[in-house]
């Protein structure tokens, strides 16, 4: 087991831990470092439980780190995280990683908690020239919806696979990509489950987007 005590994690106070959708939480903790939106941290609830990687989901001007996690039944860490209260402690690394977006025009594609790096970018004011294609099963899974609507306006495309959400595309993100022309000049950033990332990347390549224009973030 890779233990937190070997990874130079810092003790950080929890500020807030709120459920933003069924079994999905937004955790605010003390900030351990500066960061570039798109970077991640290692975080765990105690030094005996191996830390996991979480994309930072807060803005660069916020005085806290925000992360989004969904509770995995039988998981080693997330059930513990879901029980945290303000004032409790967690263990966090400094920010690291290179899933950042210096391009002028980018199409972001996200499902589930894969929205986190793009939330950080929007909250940091880095949304000009960006389009977000976001997939989720039902309305309640579009957490932080108002922020994206406000900042991205018609560049915020919601794909609702249950088909229950108004003003949205009814179907999965991958179906949306199949059904629409791909912008071959834009850069693409993909974040979500390995399956969504691989399928979306294959569709984009199939539609003539060079693989050199696509970067992906995966969860492991």
């Amino acid at each position: 087991m890779i233990l937190a005590e070997k990874m130079s994690l810092k003790t950080c106070k929890v500020f807030e831990n709120s459920e933003v959708a069924p079994s999905v939480y937004y955790l605010k903790t003390e900030r351990t470092s500066d960061f570039i939106p798109g970077q991640m941290i290692r975080l765990t609830e105690n030094i005996k439980t191996p830390p996991r990687l979480y994309s930072i989901a807060s803005g660069i001007h916020d005085d806290y780190f925000g992360i989004i996690y969904s509770v995995v039944k039988g998981g080693k860490l997330t059930p513990l995280l879901s029980g945290l209260k303000p004032g409790d402690k967690v263990f966090c690394s400094s920010a690291f990683g290179s899933f950042t977006d210096p391009a002028k025009e980018t199409i972001w594609i996200a499902t589930g908690t894969g929205i986190a790096p793009f939330l950080s970018m929007v909250l940091s004011g880095l949304h000009s020239g960006k389009t977000l294609i976001r997939g989720a099963r039902q309305e309640s899974d579009f957490y932080f919806d108002e922020i994206f609507k406000l900042k991205l306006k018609d560049k915020y495309i919601r794909c609702c696979s249950s088909g229950e959400l108004q003003n949205s595309y009814h179907g999965r993100v991958t179906q949306y990509l199949w059904d629409h022309e791909a912008d071959k000049k834009s850069k693409y950033m993909l974040c979500g489950s390995a399956e969504m990332v691989v399928d979306s990347r294959d569709i984009l390549i199939n539609k003539g987007v060079s693989f050199t224009q696509i970067i992906s973030e995966i969860y492991f």
Binding site: M1, S98, S193, A194, E195, V198, R201, I205, I218
Partner: protein
């Protein structure tokens, strides 16, 4: 019921104690499992009858025969093992002059999403247990003539470090199969914390999937590079002592027009300078819908010669099983699609 096969000695000690057996029974069970290779608990005749009955109430030996095989004209065989619904994995048996290697899987599917990998297209389904990893060896018809095992099949071994370490411990321990760790190679895309843990806890060889010496190119091919950039992977490896028998090698799939020019040769020799290692050049086995193609034979040969001339020991891996589904994950993906249709 849980399986006894694939348990380490420490785990067997707990099981023996729970069954009311004396402490030394754990080692006896290990010998039955890994030396005598019995296929029933009842065959463990130096364990008391009551003890065997208690064990049999909670455990089986836990062996799974292969569920299919594809055989190449060059002798390579791909075995499928089904460990439940949507849990089909493959193991490749590769006979060669004087050696027989088995390439084992460590996960069902994979999370890493490398652009050139067929397994990644399945998504991730599950980590294999040490039982399921070792079963690929134990249930192999050619087991008795195996000389080497490489963890280079489906999945990222260091994303399932616990079971990879357990299975390699059983392969190398005196109470287990007693193999030399030099017969075992574990391959990774470079998950640094797990790689460090592995280097400290195991003596098996290490292989690292490199595929380009440039960070930006590697990010496009391998998303993991966003998290663990290549320079940090190399730095971690260079901190380790490679002057003894243990080896580190770098896997380098040759992609036409992507990673096969003089810039790559120069940068590879720069980043690997001072490290006792080998670079293995690999022809790309095409997978469906891939934008990548293999470099030509001439380019691969030239790449090898130029790297060798720069003092980087470089070899070309022989392509095997080209007439069957050679690319890792291709056969099991087809099997998965067949079951779903």
């Amino acid at each position: 019921m849980d399986a006894l096969y694939g348990k380490t000695l420490d785990e067997l000690k707990v099981i023996a104690a729970d069954a009311g057996l004396p402490a030394f029974a754990a080692k006896q069970i290990a010998v039955w499992l890994y030396h005598s290779e019995v296929d029933s608990i009842d065959a463990m005749t130096n364990i008391s009858k009551t003890g065997r009955e208690k064990l049999a109430k909670q455990y089986t030996i836990g062996l799974t025969p292969n569920s299919g095989v594809q055989e190449s004209t060059d002798g390579t065989k791909k075995y499928l093992f089904s460990y439940g619904i949507r849990r089909t994995i493959e193991a490749a048996y590769i006979p060669d002059e004087g050696r027989s290697t088995l390439c084992v899987s460590s996960q069902v599917g994979c999370k890493m999403g490398c652009l050139f990998c067929m397994t990644g297209k399945q998504g991730f389904q599950a980590h294999l247990t040490s039982n399921e990893i070792l079963n690929q060896i134990r249930s192999l018809p050619e087991k008795s003539i195996l000389t080497n095992v490489v963890y280079m099949g489906m999945g990222e071994p260091f994303d399932n470090l616990e079971n990879v370490l357990k299975s390699s411990e059983i392969l190398t321990a005196s109470w287990g199969y007693g193999w030399s760790p030099k017969r075992i190679t574990v391959s990774t895309i470079g998950i640094i914390p797990a790689m460090e843990e592995f280097l400290n806890k195991s003596q098996c060889h290490l292989a690292v999937s490199l595929h380009t010496p440039f960070e930006e190119e590697r990010r496009q091919l391998m998303p993991v590079n966003h998290v663990y950039p290549l320079h940090e992977v190399i730095q971690t490896i260079k901190k380790h002592d490679w002057t003894h028998q243990r080896r580190v090698s770098f896997e380098y799939i040759m992609f036409k027009g992507v990673n096969d020019d003089a810039r790559h040769i120069n940068e590879l020799s720069r980043i690997l300078h001072g490290l006792k290692c080998r670079v293995n050049l690999i022809r790309f086995h095409p997978i469906p819908d891939s934008p990548l193609t293999s470099s030509s034979e001439n380019t691969i040969q030239e790449f090898k010669e130029k790297l060798n001339a720069k003092g980087i020991l470089t070899t070309i891996r022989a392509s095997r099983g080209q007439d069957i589904d050679a690319a890792c994950g291709l056969l099991s993906t087809k099997e998965l699609l067949r079951k779903e249709s």
